[in-house]
């Protein structure tokens, strides 16, 4: 993927997220969303190393991963606005957004829950004789969830082509990573006998290169690997944090990291005209996406119990009929 393409993806994620914040604040999107602002280089760099048939599992902070893996942006927007044209037909929303046909096995509301799902998908790839890989994205907070360890062990003993991507943005909500985590993350992963690498998560090319090498090794039968990306979120944990005054990090700290904005880092490698052109086309895409979403229908209330079972079973209502 070229520098321009990397920048374009990051810009799309950034502007998508900024729009989402506006729409949540305007009550046009229900619930809360967790923005990927500041971390764009991670999803973009990692997914640049992936093929369409590779699988990813994502997190509560999932829009970036889903865009980078190639999901349709207008249908993402429609999903978040709760429209039937949405990727998940308005059933998923931000925290469960998915496109299984693109190997996107879903954002996830539960920290670290995507890890074993990715491992199962990776195993299935091996069974099918394919060299596809599965990438499991998770935050620094997730490294203390037992299921992640269980999964790293299983990937280790069965030499599954799983890339564990830890986005270390320094915090799990308010809890600082160094306080939450004994030892170092890469050592933890290395103890399962897998390659474990740390990379500058604000430099999309560095991420792409590191991920590319680990993915190539996994495709070649080298088993699982672990990539820690040092990154930062420029905004609150979620859209509701703004009014909460949690005060767990300083304005200076945020400003310091903003200097290393991954979009600026990559834009500096392009000429200004190219950047401007990309920026303009991203605006156009997002306008189109929003218009598409707004024009799309809301779901019928009578369909509220649809899509629960594949067998056609319809769940019981809450009143006797």
């Amino acid at each position: 993927m070229s520098a321009a393409d990397l920048y374009r993806t990051m810009r799309t994620i950034r502007r998508f997220e900024e729009q989402i914040v506006t729409l949540v604040n305007a009550n046009e999107i229900a619930g809360v969303t967790h923005e990927y602002i500041g971390q764009e280089a991670v999803a973009t760099g990692v997914c640049a190393a992936l093929r369409d048939d590779d699988v990813i599992t994502s997190t509560h902070r999932g829009h970036g991963h889903v865009i980078a893996k190639g999901a349709d942006v207008p249908r993402m927007m429609a999903e978040l606005l709760g429209r039937t044209t949405g990727l998940n037909r308005a059933r998923g929303g931000s925290m469960h957004i998915a496109d299984v046909s693109l190997g996107i096995y879903g954002a996830n509301g539960i920290v670290a829950a995507g890890a074993p799902i990715a491992a199962g998908a990776a195993w299935a790839g091996l069974q099918a004789g394919s060299d596809r890989v599965a990438v499991c994205f998770f935050g620094d907070g997730a490294v203390n969830q037992g299921v992640l360890h269980e999964t790293m062990n299983m990937a280790g003993i069965w030499r599954l082509p799983v890339l564990f991507v830890c986005e270390n943005n320094g915090y799990a909500v308010s809890f600082a990573q160094e306080q939450a985590t004994a030892g170092s993350l890469v050592e933890r992963a290395a103890a399962y006998g897998m390659a474990a690498v740390r990379v500058d998560g604000m430099d999309v090319e560095a991420v792409r290169d590191a991920a590319g090498a680990l993915v190539a090794a996994a495709r070649a039968g080298g088993g699982p690997a672990f990539l820690e990306c040092e990154t930062y979120r420029f905004v609150g944990h979620h859209t509701a944090e703004a009014t909460m005054g949690l005060g767990y990090r300083s304005d200076e700290e945020i400003a310091r990291w903003r200097e290393r904005d991954p979009l600026l880092v990559e834009a500096a490698r392009l000429d200004a005209a190219a950047v401007a052109e990309i920026d303009a086309s991203v605006e156009e895409l997002l306008e189109r996406a929003l218009a598409f979403a707004r024009e799309s229908p809301r779901p019928e209330v009578s369909s509220a119990r649809d899509y629960v079972y594949a067998s056609g079973l319809v769940p019981r209502e809450g009143v006797a009929v």
């Binding site: 619930g31 799990a172 308010s174 009143v319």
Partner: protein, 341 residues
């Protein structure tokens, strides 16, 4: 006497108990920053060892609380979202709640597990909208779902002081409600319900935030309806504690009204409403003049779109219909009492 929000009442109960009893401490995610509003200011006031931020390790910190409890502490474990209880079910139900029996009474395990925001919250979708109190009642674990600020205060105090594991659900939809809480408010015993409104015709059992809905419906039905239909006198009974349940309170109410409708925000199948209706059908059959009814959440995960979410939750309209339908059966009011005698 202060009028306060439910969430503030929880915070006050916690602080009062922590000041009263040095063995009480809090364990959970983002409790120092007080993401859920129940621990605000406590870390600064009481120190980091009384308000402990945990890594995202629900199984371990739940088990940890049990170990600390066996060693003499009274832990309060905060869960940021209700479905985390799924992950912590084993250490709560299989370890803490069975320990006393398994050791033949050697020890007590006084842990309170609190979810300060359970149930659907408009747009939080399938994994953040559960209200899973019935699964603890099913396991015989003490379980509390207060509806109002004063009850939240008194029941949180009781839960913390209780010598057994207690799971405490604060419904998200109730957190903003206000009520007077006396300055010298004390504990409210577990297992004792509250009659929010007396009535003669129909007993409505409502739980948590649904008490508000039940009261609204009761008020509406107390007036003659648009078609000139008779007013219906509804008694609103809030068990407050899900396990142990106030069966005596329920019986007293149903014996007077002869009719029962249960409004419950767990899934329909094997939910709390099933238990209440089953017990009434079995043990209060002689008092019932109409079949008991349930209004519950549908048996389905909550979809993201708000209109779909609302469609699956129990509603006032459903309740009003059910109350009308049972009120239409059999003699009403004092008459009913004669009839069943």
């Amino acid at each position: 006497m202060a009028r306060m929000r439910y969430q503030q009442a929880l915070a006050r109960a916690l602080r009062d108990e922590m000041l009263r009893d040095p063995s009480v401490f809090v364990l959970g995610e983002d409790v120092r920053a007080s993401l859920r509003g129940v621990t605000r200011g406590l870390a600064a006031e009481l120190g980091d060892q009384r308000i402990i931020d945990t890594p995202i390790s629900e199984q371990a910190f739940t088990g940890f609380a049990m170990g600390a409890a066996l060693a003499g502490h009274r832990p309060v474990v905060e869960f940021q979202i209700p479905s985390l209880l799924f992950t912590a079910y084993e250490p709560i139900v299989n370890q803490a709640a069975k320990f006393r029996l398994m050791t033949g009474g050697q020890a007590k395990v006084p842990v309170t597990y609190v979810v300060p925001g359970s149930g659907a919250r408009m747009g939080l979708a399938a994994q953040h909208s559960d209200h899973p109190y019935a699964m603890f009642a099913q396991a015989g674990v003490k379980t509390v779902v207060p509806a109002t600020a004063a009850d939240a205060y008194g029941l949180f105090v009781s839960a913390i002081r209780d010598d057994d594991p207690v799971v405490f659900f604060a419904p998200a939809a109730a957190l903003g409600g206000r009520e007077e809480v006396a300055d010298d408010a004390g504990p409210i015993p577990l297992g004792v319900g509250r009659v929010h409104r007396s009535g003669d015709d129909v007993t409505v059992v409502a739980i948590g935030h649904l008490v508000r809905d039940a009261l609204k419906v009761a008020e509406e039905l107390a007036a003659p309806d648009a078609d000139g239909g008779d007013p219906i006198s509804v008694e609103v009974f809030d068990p407050r504690t899900i396990y142990p349940f106030d069966w005596a309170g329920l019986a007293a109410s149903v014996r007077r009204t002869g009719r029962l409708v249960v409004l419950d925000d767990t899934n329909r199948s094997c939910g709390l409403a099933a238990e209440v209706v089953a017990t009434a059908a079995e043990e209060l059959a002689d008092a019932l003049v109409a079949p008991p009814r349930r209004i519950t959440r549908a048996d389905a995960p909550i979809p993201f779109a708000v209109e779909l979410e609302v469609a699956l939750l129990p509603s006032r309209a459903q309740l009003a219909d059910a109350v009308r339908s049972v009120a239409a059966i059999g003699p009403r009011g004092a008459l009913a009492q004669e009839a069943v005698r």
